[in-house]
Symmetry: C2
Subunit: 431 residues, 2 copies
């Protein structure tokens, strides 16, 4: 087995044992990138010498952090001190912020090798699409906006990569590419140094190829409860609620099948799996997410609107001009509805260990323009709850279709333990 | 009258008429700074040539923006492309972010002259104090954390300055220095490019010497409703609720007098002024603000904690280590209580035009170490509502003591109109 094929957890173990060096792992990943990048185009910036230099420093370091020697891809709207950050925007071509975003700085402090910058939708929001292809089918999108990070991990180029989620930008691409991903509880990991879209929604997320790998960044970022590292419960002790949710009619057959398959596999493995209908306030929660996202986008892109009008994609100019005509009372209602639904959802726990729900409407669409619909992600982002994407089966075109599990706010550590227990059961391709 | 003595509104009018140039106003402010800075120490970075150069560019520009020719002081935790940003932290001495924060970029686009960087508490949060003195009494604090911005405006050095508020960092210093200030609704002005402390709370704010001046940045930042610019209501049509609030027992006599005086003056001027008792959920709202601020501080200072441990003030290390032992359930309860109180408060409007409430517990304390207590500000910051500080009278030591008015979320434009109507009535020093 080549080092690039190891899960992050297996690689970390070998790095701690001394049977693998950060340099060897980084070189192996660079080799894999050289093979796959012409087809996948996950990276917009990659400097092999820079990555190897970092790996050598890590190998010389005394301590071994939570991400010791891990090559990590960084979505190109997150600032990096030693690489450009372009936001896939003509305004920021060649832009060098000269400073690491908090999540990058923390990762370096924990021993990570910052591998390169991965392609993204313009400002992780809309406008220009990433050039990245789905590693499973070059003619299809990996999803967006964290296109390059999802594809890089799924293609084996890096064991971990960071994305962000404001609507469905982390979890949906994981479903499309057959990767695992985590969007933690909102507001715990600092968003310092990444381009803001909506402060109520913007959340960092990360990709991996095994459920246990998702705990590595969670530990580095000190998510709530990670210091106790809850042990995985036996499957028979797990109580899972299957939530079709207010957008179920939008699910294609392959997404419906994924949810049913995942539920069946869990039941057969001994878990208590029951359907759960969300109460009526949830019917409007998807619209509330859009209202808040667009309203906060007004302020987020105002500087670019004023200073670089012609270079700012029309979608963002429309946002700043409030073309959809959102009124202040709509925004108040959206915030208040979100608060009510957060309370209602949390009240379901601890009778439950997790909610099981779709992660995308179906397989990855053909072409790179349509990044897929975030309708199964937006509400959870607004609810601020932790979400973990788990691969499940393949659709009619042979493309991956996943599901996601959701926990209560700040229940990240327990949800990671659930993912570790049920990931191998749900994921048909696992083992 | 020297140009530096003009209110921002009067200066803007003269700049639009062509009877004043940005360069002349900037030079006049620089003269005032030269006179007062040795005693006040508001600025940590000031380059006269850089300011004059900007002013000359503004004078040559074709259009005239909302802040045309306005010299503005910027709190030194807000990034500026052409000046250092030190956060008053040993970690960031000489740090040059090389990029403007969104609020600075927007202000430049609207014609502002970025005058210099004003002193702040370390990371606008705690630790090291600003060196700034209260312009009214060198032996006293101007308040914090926006110490330099409040003092610079109160001392006539600049007509406008930007601060931030996470607890009471904008409104309290205004009260201590006898200035006007506005903390707008949370989340409308982008926080991109300033050091985060608590994303739920961090809000930009600004200082001025007249209530109408507060509308200038509000217009530049496109606060909700500013495009319609609501006309001031006649005083007799205003309905004001006097709220002592859950922390009234903490108010010193001078703050109690300020609230009573302000209410009496409004009544005599014809406004309908009635006391209002907040319902019981508000009793815990101040504690909820502390819980959220400290919890979000864990992530905000984690990068500095890991990379610059010894240079990070012990207060921040304690925050990252969660020394106060906040549990996830406390944080959930705090968020849910805040959401409930936001809804309850908003329901009081539109039966009301504004809430009138204390802005500080009393006069500015002696010494630069004690920056004053944010107890009359923290709850409003958490409630996300717009707040405007209005000077009122002088306490037993001759120091200014103000009040504040509060509106519903996104009711910034209407609250500015109220401030314009009632500011001259409440402010004994006005006219």
């Amino acid at each position: 087995m080549e080092p690039f094929e190891l899960t992050a957890t297996a690689a970390l173990r070998a790095l701690h044992d001394g049977t693998l060096t950060a340099e060897a792992l980084t070189r192996s990943c660079l080799g894999r990138i050289a093979d796959r990048e012409p087809a996948v185009r996950a990276f917009v910036f990659l400097d092999a010498a820079l990555a190897i230099g970092q790996a050598r420093e890590v190998d010389k370091a005394c301590g071994k952090g939570a991400l010791h020697g891990m090559p990590i891809g960084i979505k190109d709207m997150i600032d990096t001190a030693d690489m450009p950050t372009t936001h896939n925007s003509p305004i920021y071509q060649g832009h060098r912020p000269g400073q690491d975003a908090a999540c990058v700085a923390i990762s370096r402090a924990e021993g990570a090798v910052i591998m390169g910058k991965t392609d993204t939708l313009e400002f992780a929001a809309g406008g220009r699409r990433a050039r990245t292809s789905n590693p499973e089918d070059e003619t299809r999108t990996p999803g967006g906006s964290s296109s390059g990070s999802a594809a890089a991990v799924a293609a084996g180029m890096v064991p971990l990569a960071y994305g962000t989620q404001t609507g469905g930008s982390t979890i949906r691409p994981a479903s499309f590419c057959g990767a695992y991903a985590m969007k933690p509880t909102h507001g715990v990991v600092s968003t310092q140094g990444f381009k803001r879209y909506s402060h109520t929604l913007d959340t960092i997320g990360w990709y991996a190829r095994a459920p246990e790998d998702l705990a590595l960044p969670a530990r580095a970022f000190r998510l709530w409860g990670m210091e106790e590292a809850p042990a995985p419960k036996p499957l028979a002790a797990l109580r899972i609620a299957v939530v079709e949710g207010p957008n179920w009619t939008r699910a294609e057959d392959s997404a419906r099948q994924a949810l049913h398959l995942a539920a069946d596999r869990l039941r057969r493995a001994g878990a208590r799996v029951e359907p759960l209908a969300l109460p009526p306030p949830f019917d409007s929660i998807t619209a509330a997410q859009r209202t808040i996202m667009r309203s906060e986008g007004r302020g987020a892109f105002l500087a670019e609107y004023l200073l670089h009008h012609a270079k700012l994609h029309a979608e963002f100019r429309d946002t700043v001009e409030n073309k959809t005509g959102i009124a202040a009372r709509d925004l108040v209602a959206a915030h208040d509805l979100a608060a009510e639904c957060r309370r209602l959802l949390d009240a379901l726990f601890p009778e439950l260990d997790a909610v099981l729900t779709p992660s995308a409407i179906g397989e990855a669409p053909v072409g790179l323009q349509n990044n897929g619909d975030p309708v199964f992600n937006a509400m959870w982002t607004l609810l601020h709850v932790p979400c973990i994407a788990i691969p499940c089966h393949r659709g009619p075109n042979g493309m991956p279709v996943g599901v996601q599990i959701v926990g209560p706010r700040y229940g990240d550590a327990a949800l990671l333990a659930v993912a570790q227990a049920i990931g191998p059961v749900i994921d048909a391709g696992a083992g």
